[in-house]
């Protein structure tokens, strides 16, 4: 462990920790746009500049390793001035259309603008223009809102191992783009969407479906494969409009295309809404009592005639433990057979 002093406070962190991590350890806020603890430090947004005693110029906390005895100042007039300039520069090249932006209320840039009280801008000038509309069904990309923090590029390479996107062009014209600026053709895991601090990358499914403040968030588990990823369902008007995942979960906030974007089946019109009984070869909608009575009656009849082992049940890996437990209990205790299995073999 090493000890350093941040804003006069002694902080102990393990060897290899960065100054930013140390500051967070001590609950000292340093603004960032490009940092994500799950990704390699990048040092692009420059908001986390801090002054370290003995160093000739401010350095980025996210890339600087903490050293024994280091004295760090996270805020002073000069640092705040530079941070303010940076945010102002970003806003001078931003559509500033928060009133219609999907990300409003959950946008780091918006927060920073609020934090620094930026309404006027000394640097108004040319703005990047981006009119390309991607046809892919999952991810909306608006490079005018991109702050080039590189999180999407890094997550795609470092975490997902796909490298579907990278920076293209130089200087003011720099954008993030798929190869040859074609449409995205990737695994559509949406990891990029999940790390984007602004509205540059948003899921198409959630567009216009609900403001952050109106959303109910429910933590649950993904219904697809056996990884057991923790997901958060964003619900608005009894409809799931978005799925996210928190970084402090076993899946570290990462999801796959199914987990992140595969939730539309929930309110699909094809959902079965009423019990059905086949009458004269055709299904007819019936009420629950009729359906349940009919099933119970038929099962009892068969059990009486052929014995309980003439009945079998297949349970589901889709269902919860409790339901599976009840199902086998039903087969064993109510029907009286061990003819119960599920799909583990397929």
């Amino acid at each position: 462990m090493i000890t350093l002093i941040i804003d006069g406070k002694y902080v102990e962190v393990p060897e290899g920790a960065t100054v930013l991590e140390a500051a967070r350890e001590a609950d000292i806020y340093i603004p960032t746009l490009c940092d994500d603890p799950r990704l390699e430090p990048f040092g692009a947004c420059r908001l986390c500049l801090v002054q370290i005693k003995g160093m000739p110029r401010p350095v980025t906390a996210c890339t600087t390793p903490a050293r024994e005895g280091m004295e760090v100042t996270t805020t002073n007039d000069e640092i705040e001035r530079i941070r303010r300039t940076i945010v102002e520069l970003l806003l001078s090249d931003h559509p500033n259309d928060c009133m219609v932006c999907e990300k409003a209320g959950d946008c780091t840039l918006q927060e920073l603008a609020y934090f620094y009280g930026l309404r006027e801008n000394r640097f108004w000038g040319e703005r990047r223009q981006y009119s390309k509309k991607d046809n892919n069904p999952f991810i909306e990309r608006d490079m005018e809102k991109c702050v080039l923090c590189g999180k999407c590029v890094r997550v795609c390479e470092e975490v997902q191992g796909v490298s579907a996107i990278d920076f293209a062009y130089r200087g003011f014209r720099t954008i993030v783009a798929p190869a040859f600026e074609k449409d995205l053709n990737c695994e559509f895991c949406g990891q990029c969407v999940s790390v984007c601090p602004t509205g540059a990358l948003v899921g198409k499914l959630s567009l216009g479906k609900g403001r952050q403040k109106d959303i109910k968030r429910v933590d649950t588990i993904c219904p697809y494969c056996g990884c057991g990823c923790n997901i958060t369902l964003h619900v608005s008007r009894n409809e799931i409009i978005r799925v996210t995942s928190s970084p402090d979960t076993l899946n570290e906030g990462w999801l796959c295309v199914k987990g992140r974007f595969g939730f539309k089946f929930v309110n699909h019109p094809d959902r079965l809404k009423r019990p059905l009984i086949r009458k004269n070869g055709r299904f007819e909608e019936v009420c629950w009592d009729e359906a349940l009575d009919y099933v119970a009656e038929r099962l009892k009849e068969i059990k009486e005639r052929y014995g309980p082992d003439a009945i079998a049940g297949l349970s589901s890996a889709r269902c919860t433990n409790e339901e599976n437990y009840l199902f086998q209990k039903f087969m064993r205790a109510a029907v009286g057979t061990n003819n119960v299995d599920h799909c583990a073999r397929y």
Binding site: V218, K264, L272, L299, I311, E322, Y325, A333, V340, D341
Partner: protein
Amino acid sequence: MTNSIQEIEDNDLIFVIGSNTKENHPIVALRMIKAVRRGARLIVADPRRVPLVRFAHLWLQHRPGTDVALLNSMMHVILKEELYDKEFIVMMTEGFNEEFRTNLEEYPPEVGEKITGVPKEKIVQAARMYATAEKAGIYYTMGITQHSHGSDNVFSIANLALMTGNLGKASAGVNPLRGQNNVQGSTDMGCSPNMYPGYQRVDIPAVREKFERLWGVRLSDRIGLTASEMTFEAEAGRLKAMYIMGENPVLSDPDVGHTVKALKALDFLVVQDIFMTETAELADVVLPGACFAEKDGTFTNTERRVQRVRRAVSPPGEAREDSWIIAELSKRMGYEMTYNTIEEVFQEIGMAWPAMAGMTYSRLERGGLQWPCPTTDHPGTRYLFKGGFPRGKARFTVVKYRPPAEEPDEEYPFVLTTGRMLFQYHTGTMTRRVPPIEVVAGEPYVEIHPDDALALGIKEGQKVKVVSRRGEVVVRARVTSRPDRGVVFIPFHYREAAANVLTSSLNLDPLCKIPELKVASVRLEPIE
């Protein structure tokens, strides 16, 4: 999994066999990629160039169904070069005897190469890489199990891990990756014909008596039918009624024609699901259930982690939670199930199975718990067999290579292997109703090697008839070097070209009754 997902990132070596992890367990794959970035070595053994191969240091492209030969051959090298963990074998295992070693004698790398098609140098390299790693974990899925000798495959994997002492410690182990959100839980909960919840055998009287006390009812001592046996029994007319909850065997089981015939032969079929599945269409009664987002409860993931599922929206129309439906049916059958809350069911599970006795909903609130978790102050178990095995010593099993039940011949010259792809899920009941997924992956296909395609005059995107002894499907060709020559692949998600029309339901593993879905013989006929 004997070990945990999180531990993967500290593995020194990752041996993936019969698992297309990047597509089918994407998040587990991310941990593997992370481990590789941190310096772990990765071996992938798969007949296809699956996406994970891109990150692998070594890729063993063995022929479908030759896993035992590959593994035995690796163990042969480990034995010959004395790379095995002598201390672990003495202390923790039994059966590492003459018979076991003599059996391995028969699989020198030359023989391995002949059977598997993997160059012997690579077999030797893989053996050395695996055996010399400090912490080596094996990961597998249906590529190992869905064979007529799936149990043998699993025994071989266990042998390999035992030989090198890679069990009972962190970041190692034998790790089957479960393919469905709660397939682990379904098994844990006793949805199997021979086990009560918690792997307690129905044919042991003391166990049965315990459950009779718990449930207040007399229980059958007869081991029940497995899913595949149910199909046969139904077809034979001995099974009269089935209650299928949230399953779609018509698409997921081998030999669709056979499954449909069997289900039609039933006197009474009840299907409880959220959509009108291919199976539900055959039912007498269809009961509308609730999906994951509409109910409370728990799922158990592949690493034995029990986690909370929470209700976010209400079910459509009159659809009801499955637990309600079951309890109502039970009542009408004359057996009352009275629970005030779903958590009461969970508490009863804890009574039935000590490994979950220490869990409560409030303890699961954040992050869940991994069983065994016997007491309320137990932190859960990250990896199994620390300090020993439940049966005392772990046992080596002598495994001999047996070829797949169906091998290619003149009439059916190709090996068909089936599986999933990234975008779709299982029988597609859910994903095929997600419009954006249908945009990018809406059509079935058959992967065929360019050389084979050329020989057959098949072009990319061309429609092809794939024919087996069971049936035929028409799909578009995807000409790619992902499969080897002589091997074709079809994902089984699509009802319009169900891969399981082609597979066989006859070739079951003798022990587990798992069908050979990963190997079938087919021929391809270009259309137009």
